[in-house]
């Protein structure tokens, strides 16, 4: 049944091209909800084998070259499809106001979602790569047409970085393919690759995927891309697309080349820690709300990479949990930033400081406080559960990294509180530049929050709370799958 997440989303996207624009958002919503419902149902189903890849469907595709259309899932894939479905639903809800070319907008949006489902469910390397590359172009159009600040630059940069990552992945995949003679992931995962091959193919493959996961120093597409993207675009980028990279790094690079991982893991940890601290420090100096959140995404994804680098059960499971957690929190933060921007037409923290938004938008203020708390890693939210698991895992392998990461966490708290204070709870008496004479600071009237936006916000808050209060629900499915990965085998 899981395969229908992909098919339904593609069908929805195709329908959008032919049906009138009045129906656009409803089709998109129906499709996204259907995908989410299927993911949730499969996720909660009892008795499924989460430890190993359970084949959904497998048909020969290009037998001459050994390609199969092979879909499968395990606990990790299910966690990722769940966050994909959730983000997709919320992204549609937060795009309810799109009036410019809505059919095209939702078409590209659903293509990103469909491609992501495909990546998470592929058990054939070629198929996975097809879906992985499929996501690139829709992002370009989403940002370049419906984006804001510097959109064409941001879109092109993001696309070229994604494609660069794709090119590296391509080389790694080809190396695995021509050596092992198969593209089937389970088969590849038990193929004894020569250590010399692993030591060069692993970093190529891992780096290729990690570019999309926001690895320092190739992370710069993320902040500019996030800032340029429309709200839904940022939500998809933070919620899903960055996870594609991390997921690929885990599922393909680490699982295929365990010896390569062993050689390179400390360097990944170094990059991850630099990413955490550096991005947090940069975020502290940003004035654009979306830049702050964009850099915080890079910082949070640094935790994922650190978790992966530990290569032990706790660290990697924490990394997967963090992927889920950041997907939800990142999407929520970007959504709220979008809500503010839609009403005030500015994301500049100095401008926002004079608007007293906590009075005019109490619901958004409340939600932003919750999101900030989750982002800072306050216990009770998913961020805490994930990061503590990663740090526990890292403690065994890279104790120094844990110490430095502590600094990063302080910085995260600092910039999050700063952004929160400047945007909602500032005492500044500065008037908004646009406000004409005779308007006091009270006069900054904003449209009411729509029902769709409220619903989306509540869904995301609920998800981060659920995962934070009862992480066992996720970890029960993640840990068996991680346990059976190759790099943990004796």
């Amino acid at each position: 049944m899981m395969a229908w997440t992909i098919y339904l989303t593609f069908v929805g996207a195709a329908l959008l091209l032919f049906l009138p624009r009045i129906l656009a958002r409803w089709i998109a919503l129906t499709t996204a909800v259907a995908g989410f419902a299927i993911s949730l149902a499969t996720f909660l189903a009892r008795g499924a084998d989460f430890a190993h890849l359970t084949t959904i469907t497998r048909i020969p595709w290009v037998p001459a070259l050994g390609m199969n259309y092979h879909l499968a899932f395990d606990g990790i894939s299910l966690t990722m499809t769940l966050v994909t479905g959730l983000t997709a639903v919320c992204a549609v809800l937060f795009s309810w106001h799109i009036d410019e070319r809505p059919n095209e907008f939702f078409f590209w949006l659903l293509l990103v979602v469909a491609g992501s489902y495909g990546v998470f469910l592929s058990a054939d390397l070629f198929l996975l790569f097809v879906f992985y590359e499929l996501v690139i172009v829709p992002k370009y159009f989403l940002i370049a047409i419906w984006g804001s600040t510097n959109k064409e630059y941001g879109a092109m940069k993001l696309t070229l970085y994604s494609f660069l990552g794709g090119a590296l992945v391509f080389i790694g995949i080809l190396a695995a393919y021509v050596t092992a003679g198969t593209l089937d992931l389970p088969q590849l995962a038990s193929f004894p690759f020569a250590p010399s091959l692993q030591s060069w193919a692993f970093p190529v493959l891992f780096l290729g995927f990690a570019i999309l996961g926001g690895v320092w120093p190739l992370h710069t597409w993320a902040p500019t891309g996030h800032v340029a993207a429309p709200t839904a675009g940022s939500m998809l980028l933070a919620g899903i697309v960055m996870k594609l990279g991390a997921y690929g790094a885990l599922r393909v690079a680490m699982n295929l080349f365990p010896l390569g991982l062993h050689v390179w893991s400390r360097w990944i940890a170094v990059l991850a820690v630099i990413g955490i601290v550096y991005a947090a420090a940069v975020a502290l100096r940003q004035n654009d709300l979306k830049f702050v959140i964009g850099y915080s995404s890079v910082s949070h994804m640094g935790f994922v990479l650190l978790g992966l680098a530990t290569a032990n059960l706790l660290g990697v499971s924490g990394a997967v949990l963090q992927m889920f957690s950041h997907g939800v929190i990142g999407a929520l933060l970007f959504a709220l930033a979008g809500v503010i921007y839609l009403r005030t037409h500015t994301r500049n923290l100095n401008d926002l400081a004079g608007m007293h938004l906590s009075r005019t938008m109490p619901f958004v203020a409340f939600a932003f406080v919750v999101a900030s708390a989750a982002s800072m890693g306050i216990p009770g939210f998913s961020g805490f559960a994930a990061e503590i698991t990663i740090l526990l895992g890292a403690w065994k392998t890279f104790p120094v990294a844990v110490g430095i990461t502590g600094i990063g966490m302080v910085l995260v708290a600092a910039f999050t509180l700063r952004a929160l204070k400047r945007s909602f709870f500032s005492d500044d008496r500065v008037l908004v530049p646009q406000a004409g004479p005779g308007q006091s600071e009270q006069a900054v009237l904003v449209d009411r929050i729509t029902f769709a936006e409220k619903l989306g916000t509540c869904l995301l808050i609920l998800a981060t709370l659920a995962a934070g209060l009862y992480p066992k629900l996720l970890l029960d499915r993640i840990m068996p799958a991680v346990q059976s990965m190759r790099f943990l085998q004796p």
Binding site: P63, A64, L134, Y177
Partner: protein, 493 residues
């Protein structure tokens, strides 16, 4: 061997020839009504020829390889006939072409050249095919009397082309001198035991130069930008599709069958003299130069010309890899490339007719004017960039995996990495074209809205349909490439 048998085996060529003569004769009449009929007859002739190809026996060899019938040759004859068919459809909607009958006859003559080229495994016949195609294409390039650039392109193409032909003929004479035969199998037999000697090396290099010119590989690509930009659109489409496909088929046969034992090795850690290092250098140069120069182009046709140089480089990878897998990867890639380019030129022809040009500014806001054409152009551009689920993506995967598999220890990794880097650059300029189509606003004042002329209403439908069909083919070959791959592989046994 009786003449009847010869006629039977050469029936596709004969049918196309008769059609060409009929078309030429009809074109002499002054009547205006006859114009659509001429195209119809030409198209019908091609269809009958394709049918005749399918009726040929599986295997036959005539006079020492002058005419060879094999599954591979038949498959590519059909592909070339189909490409010629699309060219004729494009030519039908082109109003810059005055003497329709003559133009169509030239297309058919060029097609005969391609059929001979594909159907022959003998150096002299191959050379005759090359010349027949070349001469027809030179005239077709210079066919637009109203445009000075067309004449310039024709002259350039002719001068470079005759130069390249001279090189090829000179190289072939060396090879004949060394082996005493012009049949590819005979040459292969003689070369089996000979090591590379200076005379042979000179012969190989000169032969390859001629083909590098044909497929527009750097540094023998200088004619391509002008020809692609200045020639009438159908000519450019035919140069980029049919002529290229046939050239790659023949080049593959010459190097892999004729010079099979002189393969050498282009591996970075174990370079061995032979033709493959030569092709590797050509490929690397083409990829670098084509992609970099394409970056600064402001005309879509010129951009496609430089990207064609780069694509010639990618396609050579399969031949360098060699073997059945490499050859089939090259053939697959060149076929889908041809389909994609005919489609792209179809879009260009329509845009040109509506806006009077094919610069970037003419494409601005195409999405608003015609969402269908814009969507098809997106399919073609993204396929050229190599993005899934389009044919170009699978083609590249096939090509690069074949290249990486050949040789020892991933010896061709350097070329694969270079190609991927080239693809990265190419994505930028393809996306730029799409950005102009989908993002930029259509500036109504910049485009002289010429009065729509009379037979357009009918002529409009067919080119649009062609473009849609080709876009569908590109998508279909990307999702289910098995059909074509299996066919090519089966024909290569």
């Amino acid at each position: 061997m009786s003449y009847l048998e010869l006629l039977k085996l050469a029936s596709p060529e004969a049918i196309v020839l008769v059609t060409a003569l009929i078309v030429l004769a009809l074109g002499l009449t002054k009547s205006e009504q006859i114009k659509p009929a001429v195209s119809l007859i030409a198209a019908l002739g091609l269809a009958v020829a394709a049918f005749a190809v399918s009726r040929l026996p599986q295997h036959a060899v005539l006079s020492d390889g002058m005419l060879v019938i094999s599954p591979l040759n038949s498959l590519f004859k059909v592909i070339c006939l189909v490409l010629a068919f699309f060219t004729i459809v494009l030519a039908r909607g082109d109003r810059q072409i005055r003497h329709h009958g003559e133009y169509l006859a030239l297309i058919l003559f060029a097609t005969i050249g391609l059929l001979l080229l594909i159907g022959s495994e003998e150096l002299l016949m191959i050379f005759i095919g090359l010349e027949l195609t070349g001469l027809s294409l030179y005239v077709m390039t210079a066919f637009d009397h109203s445009d000075l650039r067309s004449a310039e392109a024709g002259l350039k193409y002719f001068l470079f082309g005759s130069m390249a032909s001279a090189f090829t003929l000179f190289g072939l004479s060396f090879i004949y001198g060394l082996t005493g035969t012009t049949a590819l199998t005979g040459i292969a037999h003689t070369f089996n035991a000979t090591p590379i000697q200076p005379l042979l090396a000179a012969g190989i290099v000169m032969t390859l130069i001629g083909f590098a010119f044909k497929v527009a590989a750097a540094p023998f690509h200088l004619w391509a930008p002008d020809a692609y930009q200045g020639a009438p659109v159908p000519t450019a489409a035919f140069i980029a599709s049919g002529s290229k496909v046939a050239s790659f088929v023949v080049l593959g046969k010459i190097v892999l069958v004729g010079f099979g034992s002189l393969h050498g090795s282009a591996d970075w850690h174990a370079l061995v003299a032979g033709w493959s290092p030569v092709l590797a250098v050509l490929a690397a140069l083409s990829i670098i130069l084509g992609n970099l120069v394409a970056l600064v182009q402001k005309n879509v046709r010129r951009l496609l010309a430089y990207s064609a140089v780069a694509h010639a480089g990618y396609t050579l990878l399969g031949l360098i890899a060699g073997g059945r897998n490499g050859f089939s990867a090259t053939l697959f890639y060149t076929t889908i490339y041809a389909i994609t380019l005919v489609g792209a030129f179809g879009v260009i022809a329509l845009v040109r007719r509506d806006t009077g040009g094919d610069d970037f500014s003419n494409f601005a806001g195409l999405r608003a004017r015609s969402p269908l054409l814009a969507g098809c152009m997106a399919v073609f551009m993204l396929s050229l960039a190599g993005l899934p689920p389009l044919a170009g993506f699978f083609g590249k995967f096939y090509l690069f995996s074949a290249a990486l598999r050949s040789g020892q220890n991933h010896g061709l990794l350097w070329l694969v990495a270079l190609s991927l880097f080239g693809s990265l650059i190419s994505l930028y300029y393809y996306l730029t074209v799409l950005k102009i189509i989908f993002l930029d606003d259509h500036d109504a004042s910049a485009i002289p809205r010429t009065s729509r002329y009379d037979f357009e209403a009918r002529a409009d439908f067919l080119p649009s349909l062609t473009v849609v069909v080709l876009a569908g083919a590109v998508i279909l070959l990307g999702i289910v490439p098995e059909g074509l791959v299996a066919r090519i592989l089966a024909s290569l046994t």
